[in-house]
Amino acid sequence: MRSAPLGTAYRVAAWTAVFYLMTLPLLGPLRALWVAVAAFAIQAVVLFGKISPAHRERFLSVVGGRTHLASWLDSRPAWFRTAVPVAILAIVALSGLGMSPYTLDVATNAGIYVLLALGLNIVVGMAGLLVLGYIAFSAVGAYTYAILNTQMHLSFWLALPIGGALAACFGLLLGLPTLRLRGDYLAIVTLGFGEITRITLNNWNSVTNGPNGILGISPPSFFGFPFTQPKHYFYLVLVMVALTAFFSRRLERSRLGRAWVAMREDETAAESMGVPTLKLKLLAFTLSAFCGGVAGVVFASKQLFISPESFNFLESVMVLCMVVLGGMGSVPGVILGAVLLSFLPEVLRGAAEYRLIVFGAAMVLLMQYRPQGIWPSSRRFEEFRQEK
């Protein structure tokens, strides 16, 4: 059904005017004009261009379609599907030998983001609970290592489980009262928790040294061999990423993982089938917090200096973006998302100012045209297709 041409023209003119007026005060008359021209052009192309409903369908199915490589991979035999990640791991490990310290450093940061994104993926992707203050768990881990190491010379390897466990405890404590809430309240409560954590770290001078942060954290050492070069961290993080990815993958296909999916898709139905949803939510929350804590310990051991400003809301958003961009619930997707987003700023040095605005716009557009992310999990893809 098409609306009358006059009505359409009127509407196009109205929206063009809206965009001009809206941007006029902030951008000034000239730049606002460009916005209006762009708004007009886009509408004109969409409405008067030769875009038939069939074209549109086609476009959506391409943009929103299954990643070809992913579906190709899924149709390969099992040994092949195992071999691919192993091969990628080997290639990355080998290329580490030839990297400059700077590239290694950036790659290590990317690896830490991968750890965080995989952790957040458990709760957001698998269990379907939106957590907005995820970086707080990482802060708990990082500060645990920083404090215990500088005061009691706790070793990195012991700090890994301790930091993770402490973060998990926080997750449990936060989750117990709040997981009964509906999804969007949970998002806000976790956001509030993230803020409380940051504010507390910034103010509890006697323990966290307040805004100055903690200096002089010692690097990890392996049987007396200290990690001093960017290369060492690179391999440490690579091993941890490989392990986390492996466990995430196993988790996804386990009984637990399937129960999460059931809960995510229809909580009431799952519950009536005997799925203990509250317990499952708590478990997802705690596991996810554990991963965040571990990533925090690694972060602190690499940075050797931590301060509250490294754990602000934007970091949480960043990690969430990685999960969403890559594909919620898809382990390869999340890894890809984290790697892409951590390398992007290095590539777009000249356009650094525009990085965040592009992120924001990408999140909005992605939700409309490709909510399943770049590399969706096969299961998730089907769901989104049905919802459309």
Partner: protein, 302 residues
């Protein structure tokens, strides 16, 4: 050590901040009431309102208009132009996702919030924008409490807007359509309510109110910057939840309550912990009384 007058002064301080929270909270509460979406970008709309007000006040003053006329016109301009942001946000970022479950619109809202924030940063720079007309800090002294006229103005304007909004929703045809859509959009469309237009109108009204709050704040404090939306939005949302989300008098009560609590916390516990107090109250309210102070418990839709 602390004189008794200080307590009253703290309450006056808190009410001013709270009235602003309440005005922003109205937008959250209306949108949530009607489409069950936490409009994360709403805080940014408030910030944009402050910018538009500041810039247009500058234009009106430069055109030689008297100060009071410039201020009134600036508020009107900000409300009108900023509501367009709400309108287009709804059309471009939320309407396509109305049937897409809960997570997608929430992430879209988050993205939009970052987009707006960065858009203002790129357009206007990182420096604080200073309001062109210095509103003289004239006021009166009541006992030991000092009240600026502009504080009174903020509280009065907020109250007036809330009362008229309540009347609009409760008494007019459009208001009835809004309540109808909030209860059941499908049913509403069946009985002939133009659901899309009603939802768009909700966004427009909410944005206009946030813009008014933005201009009042920038007049009172004298400056705004592109990051101002985040904290204010978060607080206003807290206020909306406190009062009972979806409930207009609740938003007002929640805003004033939060403002006063924060003010007392900053005054008597210490400035560094006031935000912690605010969030702890939010978590407690959600746990003990998820429907908020004035809300009614609605079972989850199945």
């Amino acid at each position: 050590m602390i004189p008794g007058g200080a307590l009253l002064q703290q309450i006056v301080n808190g009410l001013t901040v709270g009235a602003v929270y309440a005005l922003i909270a109205l937008g959250y509460t209306m949108v949530y009431g009607i489409i069950e979406l936490i409009n994360f970008a709403h805080g940014e709309i408030y910030m944009i309102g402050a910018y538009v007000g500041t810039i247009s006040a500058g234009v009106f003053l430069a055109a030689g208009l008297p100060v009071w006329a410039s201020l009134v016109l600036a508020i009107a301009t900000a409300a009108a132009l900023t509501s367009l942001y709400g309108l287009s946000a709804e059309r471009l970022a939320y309407r396509p996702l109305r049937k897409a479950g809960r997570l997608a619109p929430l992430i879209s809202a988050l993205g939009l919030s970052i987009f707006f924030q960065q858009y203002v940063f790129l357009a206007q720079g990182a420096k604080d924008k200073v309001f062109p007309a210095a509103i003289t800090s004239g006021g009166f002294v009541l006992g030991s409490v000092r009240v600026a006229y502009i504080q009174v103005a903020i509280i009065l304007v907020a109250a007036a807007l809330m009362v008229s909004l309540q009347a609009f929703v409760g008494k007019t045809r459009m208001g009835r359509a809004m309540r109808c859509t909030a209860q059941d959009p499908v049913m509403a469309s069946l009985v002939g309510v133009p659901v899309n237009r009603v939802i768009a109108l909700t966004f427009v009204i909410g944005s206009a109110l946030a813009a008014v709050a933005g201009v009042l704040v920038v007049m009172y404090y004298g400056k705004v910057n592109y990051l101002a939306g985040y904290a204010a939005g978060l607080k206003a949302f807290t206020a909306a939840v406190l009062g009972g989300i979806g409930n207009i008098p609740g938003a007002m009560l929640g805003g004033l309550f939060l403002g006063v609590v924060e003010s007392l916390a900053a005054g008597y516990i210490g400035g560094e912990y006031k935000d912690v107090v605010a969030f702890v109250i939010l978590v407690l309210v959600l746990i003990v009384r998820p429907q908020g102070l004035l809300g009614v418990r609605v079972p989850d839709k199945i």
